[in-house]
Symmetry: C2
Subunit: 411 residues, 2 copies
C-alpha cells in the first residue's frame, strides 16, 4: 500500500492507510498502548494493545497499516487504530539519549558523538531546516537581482585572507591550503557576471575552542560590480536579509528594517563607551551597539561603517574622504558580528601598492585587475552563526549537522 | 545617471542613457568608429569618432552616456550616439588573448593561466551560466519532492569511498582527509529528513591527467528513504533530470524521456559485444550502449542496472534475487557515465558483514544504522561532466571556472 505522511492522515479519515517512520515513543497504559511514529512531516499516534509495544523499541523503523480514526487528543485530531506493525529495521541496543522529550538533555559532547541520532530530535532537526530555508532565501533574494551562482576552488596555492589559521595539505606532492573564503574568486567572477554568489564551505584552522567558531562553516558569499561605494553593497545585503527573514518565517520571526541603522565606526566607539583610539570593536562593544540599535531604532540589526584600514584586509577600499578609514562595514545581529563586507580595491595599481610589491603569490588574482575590473564590493554571511543567533542557541554546534573543531573530526 | 543594461536600450529609444561595461571591441572605419561595450546582459554598440577609440583599450571598464538611436544593424536594433565615455579602469597592457572572436583561439593552458580573463569570453561565460541553471534545476526538482538541503563535513577522519585518490591534510596535528563524497553523511541525514540533497565540492587526488577528471568538482547529491528498491531512486533521478533539462533550456536543448530505458548489466555486456565475464563496462562499451539507446529508443540516456557487487562500494545493497549482482545502477548520458546510484544497505548487521569486522574507522557512520535506518538509496551527478557533455565540450576544464588537477593549483 502506498505510504502517506503523518500530516496527510486527516485527509483519509475512516480509511485504511499506511504510515512509515521511526518509533518515537511508546506509552503503555493499563488496557491500551500508544505508539508514536515520527516521520519527516510529524507524528502519528497509533493505538494498540499494550503487549504489542513490548516487541518494539525506540528508533526502530516501522511501517504501520491501520484505520484513521478521529480523536481530538491525538496529533492533528486523528490516530491509527487496529494497526498492523511491520518492523523495517529493529534497534536492539539501548539509545545513548532520549529523543522524545521536548529538549535534548544529553550533554553537547554526547550529542556530537552520536550526531546521527541526536539530529533526529525535532528541535535539532528544525534548526537544520531553518538553515536550509535561510540558504534558499539567500539564493532567491540574489537570483531576483541577476546574481549568478558560482563554484570556486577550495584548494588554493596560498592563504586567502592571511597566513594564520589555514589548513595545509599535500597537493600531489606540493603544499596546498584549504580556502579560508572564496574572496579572490568571487571578485574575479565580477569581471565575468558582474554579480555573483556562492554557498559553500570555508575552512579556518581556528585554534580557539569557542561557542562561536568552527573549523568548517557554510559561507553565504556575494559580490557585485558597478557600485558607487559600500552603501550599494549594504542596500543589497539589506534586501537579501529581508528575503532570508521571509524564508525562515515558518521557524522564527525576524524583522529586517527597510533601512538598517548605520553608525560610523568612530561614533560607535563613543556610543559603546570604548576608548577613541581603539582599532576595532570588542565583543562587549558589539553587544552595547546591539542594545543601542534595539533601544534607539527598534532594530535587531546595525551596520558599523568605516572601520580603520589598519584592521581590514589588503583588498579593502579606503574612504576617499579620509584614507585612514575604510569603505568596509560589519553588520551586527543582536549584538554579534554576522556579516563582514565592503567596497574592494578595483585598480591594479592600488593592489600593487596595497601588497607592497609582494605580488607573486597573488599572480592569478591580480590578473583580473590588470585586465579591467569595475568598482565592486560584497559581503559574506556565516550561515551557522545566523541560525544560532536567530534561534537563540548559545553554541553554533547546535545548528551544525556534523561540526568540525579543534577537538572534533568525527563523526 | 542610473545605469541601464544593454538589453534595456530598446526601451529607452531617443533618450539619453548610461551603460557600463568592458570594451569588448573597437572597430575603426574611415570616418566613424564603433565601440562595442560588453555588460553582463549583452552588448551595446557605441558610435563615436575614430580618434576617440585610440584612447581606449580592450577590457578597459567604461561608462558611456549617449543617446539611444535606432539602427537595424546594431545589436537589438539600437546603438548609442553622441557618446561621452568615462574610463573606470584602464587596461594598459596587451591582452594574452582576444575575447571578441566567436570562439577563443587561445590554447587551453593559456586560457587556464589567465582564467580571470578567459572566462569573460561569451562562450565560456555561457557554460558557467549553464552550470548555474543546471544546479538551480536540480534543487527545484528536489525541493518539490520534500528534499531538504544539507551541508556536510569536507574534512573527514577516514577516506569515504576508498583509501586511494584521497588528499591528506594536517588537522590540528592529526591526519585528516578531504571528503571524496558526502556519501556517509547524506545517508545518515536520511535518518533525520528522509530525503536530502547537497550541492558541494568533492575532492579526488586523481593521478591521471584526462579530459574527464578534476581534483575538485561539484557533486549534485541526493538520498531518499522508504524506497522499495533502486527503481524508486531511478524514478526520482529521472524527474530531477527533467527539471534540469527545463532549467538549461535557454542554453541547450535536452530531452529526458518520461521513462529512461534501463538495461540489466549482463544484457548490456551482450549488446555492447563485451565478454560475458567482464565485471564492469569499459568506455567503449559505454559508448556502444549510448549509441544503442539512441538508435533503439531515441534516448540520450540509458540506465545500466544490476552491476556486479564486486565492483560496487561496500554500502551497496545486493539484488535479493541474485546477490552476486547489486541494486546499483549507472546512468549513461550520450555514451558516458554521468550518474552512479543505487540502493544502499540499511541494516546494521549487513554493514558489519560487508565491512568484515573492520568497524572502527566507520564508528560514527555505523551509529546511524545501529539506531534504525529505513531502506534507502540515492545518486550523485557530476555537474561539470553533465555541462561538458550537454554543450559538446571535449574537456571538462572548459566548463569549470578555476579547475584543479594534477598539474594545476592556480589561479
Amino acid at each position: 500500500m502506498q505510504r502517506i505522511l503523518s500530516t496527510e492522515l486527516a485527509e483519509h479519515l475512516g480509511q485504511i492507510v499506511t504510515v512509515s517512520g521511526w518509533v518515537h515513543r511508546r506509552r503503555q497504559l493499563k488496557s491500551v498502548g500508544f505508539l508514536i511514529v515520527r516521520d519527516a512531516a510529524g507524528f502519528t499516534q497509533v493505538v494498540t494493545h499494550p503487549a504489542e509495544l513490548r516487541h518494539l523499541s525506540e528508533e526502530s523503523v516501522v511501517e504501520v497499516t491501520g484505520r484513521t480514526t478521529a480523536n481530538a487528543q491525538a496529533p492533528a485530531g486523528v490516530e491509527l487504530t487496529s494497526p498492523t506493525v511491520r518492523v523495517l529495521s529493529a534497534v536492539s541496543v539501548p539509545l545513548p539519549m532520549e529523543l522524545h522529550r521536548p529538549t535534548l538533555t544529553a550533554s553537547m559532547p554526547t550529542q556530537l558523538d552520536h550526531a546521527a541520532l541526536a539530529l533526529r530530535h525535532p528541535a535539532r532537526a528544525a534548526a537544520l531546516r531553518t538553515a536550509a530555508a535561510a540558504t534558499a532565501g539567500f539564493r532567491a533574494g540574489l537570483e531576483r537581482r541577476r546574481f549568478v551562482e558560482i563554484h570556486t576552488p577550495k584548494i588554493v596555492a596560498s592563504a586567502t585572507e592571511s597566513g594564520a589559521n589555514v589548513f595545509r595539505l599535500d597537493y600531489f606532492g606540493r603544499p596546498g591550503y584549504l580556502a579560508q573564503s572564496p574572496q579572490f574568486y568571487k571578485q574575479l567572477m565580477v569581471g565575468v557576471f558582474e554579480r555573483v554568489y556562492e554557498v559553500g564551505p570555508v575552512f579556518r584552522a581556528e585554534p580557539h575552542d569557542t561557542a562561536r567558531h568552527l573549523a568548517q562553516y557554510t559561507s553565504l558569499d556575494a559580490e557585485l560590480g558597478f557600485i558607487r561605494d559600500h552603501r550599494d553593497v549594504m542596500a543589497v545585503l539589506t534586501s537579501v536579509l529581508t528575503a532570508m527573514a521571509h524564508a525562515v518565517a515558518p521557524f522564527a520571526a525576524l524583522e529586517v528594517p527597510a533601512e538598517i541603522p548605520a553608525v560610523p565606526f568612530t561614533e560607535a566607539l563613543r556610543i559603546a563607551g570604548a576608548p577613541e583610539d581603539e582599532p576595532d570593536l570588542a565583543p562587549a562593544h558589539e553587544r552595547a551597539m546591539g542594545e543601542w540599535a534595539r533601544r534607539q531604532h527598534g532594530s535587531e540589526f546595525v551596520f558599523i561603517t568605516g572601520y580603520p584600514m589598519a584592521k581590514r584586509p589588503f583588498y579593502t577600499h579606503p574612504d576617499p574622504a579620509d584614507p585612514r578609514y575604510s569603505n568596509g562595514f560589519d553588520l551586527l545581529f543582536r549584538g554579534v558580528e554576522l556579516v563582514t563586507g565592503g567596497q574592494r580595491l578595483h585598480r591594479y595599481e592600488d593592489y600593487v601598492a596595497a601588497l607592497h610589491g609582494d605580488l607573486e603569490p597573488y599572480a592569478g588574482y591580480l590578473d583580473g585587475f590588470r585586465y579591467g575590473m569595475p568598482p565592486h564590493g560584497g559581503f559574506a554571511i556565516g550561515l551557522e552563526r545566523f541560525v544560532a543567533r536567530l534561534l537563540g542557541m548559545a553554541n553554533v554546534r547546535e545548528v551544525t549537522a556534523f561540526p568540525r573543531d579543534l577537538h572534533r573530526l568525527t563523526p
